[in-house]
C-alpha cells in the first residue's frame, strides 16, 4: 500500500525536483557566488543600493492590493447575494478577461492610456484638456488592479457564499443593525477569503515586470524589471539577479507570514465549524 502510493507520487516528485527544487538551489548558488564561481557576499550586499526599487514595488503592490480589496469586496458581496444562475454568469464574467493573453490585455491599456490614445482623443473631442496617463505610477497600479482583481474577487465570493444566512439573521435578531452585522459577523467570517485574495494579488503585483515596463515607462522601475534586466537586459549579471530574487522571496515570505497571523485564530475556527456543518 505504502510503496504503491510512493510509486504513484514518483512523477510529481521528479517534476518538483527538476523544476522547483533544482532552480531554487541554482538561485541560491548564483546569489552567493561571483562570475568566477567562488563564494561571495557582494551580490547580497549590493541589493541594498536598490532599496528604492524595493520600496516602490512594495508600495505600488500594496496600493494595488488595497484597491483590489476595496473594489472586490463589495462586488463579491453583490454576486454572493444574487440568484444561483446570475451568480454563475457573473463569476464567468469575472474570469472572462483571463481567457485573453496577459500581454495583449496590457497592450490594450497602452493604446487606451497613451497621450494620443483613445481616452485622450475622446477627451479632446469633447473639448476637455488631455491628461498624461501613460508612464506614470498610477498607470502601473491600474494595470495591476485590472490584471489581478479576479484573484481577489473569486476567493472572497467563495467564502461569502458559504456564510450561513441564519447566522446573519441571528445577529440581526440579537440587535445588530446592518453596519454591525457587516463588521461583527460578515467581515470576521470572510477573513480566510480576504487573506487568500490579498496574497494572490500582492505576490504577483510585487514581482511583476511586464506591467511596469509597458505602462510605467522608464521612471517606474520595479523589482521584476530589475531582475529581468540582470538576466535578459543590458546589465547582464545573473549573480546579482539571483540575489535580488532571493531577497524578494524572503520579503514575500515575511509578508505572508504576517498575513497568516491574522488568519490563524478566528478564521481557522470558522473553517472548522463550516466543515462540521456541511
Amino acid at each position: 500500500m505504502k510503496s504503491d502510493s510512493k510509486l504513484l507520487s514518483a512523477p510529481y516528485t521528479v517534476w518538483m525536483t527538476v523544476f522547483i527544487v533544482v532552480p531554487m538551489l541554482l538561485v541560491g548558488y548564483f546569489a552567493f557566488t561571483d562570475k568566477a564561481g567562488s563564494f561571495t557576499m557582494e551580490n547580497i550586499l549590493s541589493v541594498g543600493q536598490y532599496s528604492n526599487v524595493f520600496l516602490r514595488s512594495i508600495w505600488l503592490g500594496a496600493l494595488a492590493t488595497a484597491i483590489s480589496l476595496g473594489l472586490g469586496y463589495p462586488f463579491a458581496m453583490i454576486i454572493a447575494r444574487m440568484g444561483a444562475r446570475r451568480q454563475n454568469v457573473m463569476v464567468m464574467l469575472v474570469m472572462l478577461p483571463m481567457w485573453m493573453n496577459f500581454l495583449l490585455r496590457t497592450y490594450a491599456w497602452m493604446t487606451l492610456l497613451e497621450d494620443n490614445g483613445l481616452i485622450n482623443n475622446a477627451l479632446a473631442a469633447v473639448g476637455l484638456p488631455r491628461v498624461h496617463m501613460i508612464n506614470t505610477a498610477g498607470a502601473v497600479v491600474l494595470g495591476m488592479v485590472y490584471n489581478y482583481i479576479p484573484y481577489m474577487i473569486l476567493p472572497l465570493y467563495s467564502v461569502l457564499t458559504k456564510i450561513d444566512r441564519s447566522v446573519i439573521e441571528a445577529a440581526q435578531d440579537l440587535g445588530a443593525n446592518s453596519v454591525q452585522v457587516f463588521l461583527k459577523v460578515v467581515v470576521p467570517l470572510s477573513m480566510p477569503g480576504v487573506i487568500s485574495g490579498v496574497t494572490m494579488v500582492f505576490v504577483p503585483a510585487v514581482s511583476t515586470f511586464i506591467i511596469s515596463k509597458m505602462l510605467g515607462g522608464g521612471g517606474n522601475l520595479l523589482i521584476g524589471d530589475l531582475i529581468d534586466m540582470q538576466f535578459l537586459g543590458s546589465a547582464y549579471n545573473p549573480n546579482l539577479g539571483s540575489a535580488v530574487s532571493l531577497v524578494l522571496m524572503v520579503i514575500i515570505l515575511i509578508c505572508m507570514g504576517i498575513m497568516n497571523q491574522f488568519d490563524d485564530g478566528e478564521a481557522n475556527e470558522a473553517v472548522q465549524l463550516g466543515n462540521v456543518n456541511h
Binding site: 447566522v167 439573521e169 435578531d173 445588530a176 465549524l273
Partner: protein, 382 residues
Amino acid sequence: MKDTIISLKDITVSYDGEQVLGGFNLEIHDGEFVTLLGPSGCGKTTVLRTIAGFIRPDAGDVFFNDKNITDLPPHKREVNTIFQKYALFPHLNVYENIAFGMRLKGRGEKEIKGTVQEMLAMVNLTGYAHRGVGQLSGGQQQRVAIARALANEPKVLLLDEPLGALDLKLRKDMQAELKKIQQCTGITFVFVTHDQEEALSMSDTVVVMDGGVIQQIGSPTDIYNEPENAFVADFIGESNILDGVMLEDYSVRVAGHSFRCLDSGFGRNTPVDVVIRPEDIKVVEPDATRIVGDVTAVTFKGVHYEMIVDVAGFKWMIQSTECRQVGDHIGLALTPNDIHVMQKSEYSGVFGDYSTFSDEMEEDRTASEEANIREEGDADEI
C-alpha cells in the same frame, strides 16, 4: 387570562406568488408557552419569522403590546429567536456568543460577565465559556443558542424547531429543560414543531395549523380529547375516525349501532365525524358487546399491544395491554366518555381507517416525510 403580548391581524404572506398565509389571526398571551404545531409547509415557521421580523407580510399587521411593529426591522424588536440550526457565530467562543447582544447594547464588561455566567449556569454549561463553538455537541450548541437569546432579555422567545436535529434521548432532556427555563423566567415562548408529542408535553397552549390555517387552539388536553375536526384528531395521536349520524343530543349512530355520548348541540340527524381513540377501546368477549370483529394484525409496542381489528370491513386500531392473536374474534366495548363527535369538515373522509396500516408502511411514510422536511426546509425557512 393574562394580557395579549403579540397579536397578528389578517396577515397575508406569499412566496413567489404562492400564498402561505392568508388573513391569518393569532393572539399570544404574556407568559404563555405557545406551540405552533403542524406538518411541514403548513406556515408555522412563516408565522414565527413574521413575528421575528424576517418576513414582511404582504398585508396585515403585527402588534407587540398593542404597538404596531409591522415595519420594525428585526434588530429593533424585543423578541429573540432560537434557530433550528443553532446559528451560533463560528468566529466567536461560547462567552462571546452569549455576550454578543449585550455588547451591541453597550453594557459594561462586569455586567456582561455576570450575565454570561448566570446564563451558562442556567443551561448547565458552566465552565464552557472559553470553548470554541465548533468543539461543542449539537445539544450543547443549542443550549448556547438558548443562553445567547435569553441574555438579551427578550419579552418573547421564538423557537424554530430547536430540537429537530437532536437525537431522541437528548430531545426529551431538552424538552424538560426548556419547560423549566420558561417557568423560571416567565418569558413568553412561541415554539414551532411538527412533533405532536413535543407539543403536548411542553405547551400551555397548542395552535394546530394546516395549509396556513389554524385548525384548533387549545390546551394540550383539549386538543387531544376534544379535536375539532378530522385533521386535528388524526395529527394528534392515533385515532379511529368514523362516519356517524348525530341522532339527537347525547345520542350518535356509528358503526351500525347507536351509542350514548356526551356531545350535544349538533341538531337532529346530522352527519358527523366520530373519533374514538385506540387506547379508549376495551377488548371484551364477542357476546358482551355490539361491536365485534376479527384481529388482523398485532404489534407489540412495549407499553401495550397495537391491534388492527376488522369490524364489518372497517379496520379499527386498538391499543390494549391484553394480547390477542391474529384471527381471534373479539368484542370492542365503548363507554359514552370514549366517543367524541366532531362537525364534518373538509378533512372528513381524508383520513380513512387503518386498512393500509402496517409497520413497514409507517416506516416508509416517516422516512419520506423526513426527506420532505429536509427538502422543504429551505422553502419553510424563507
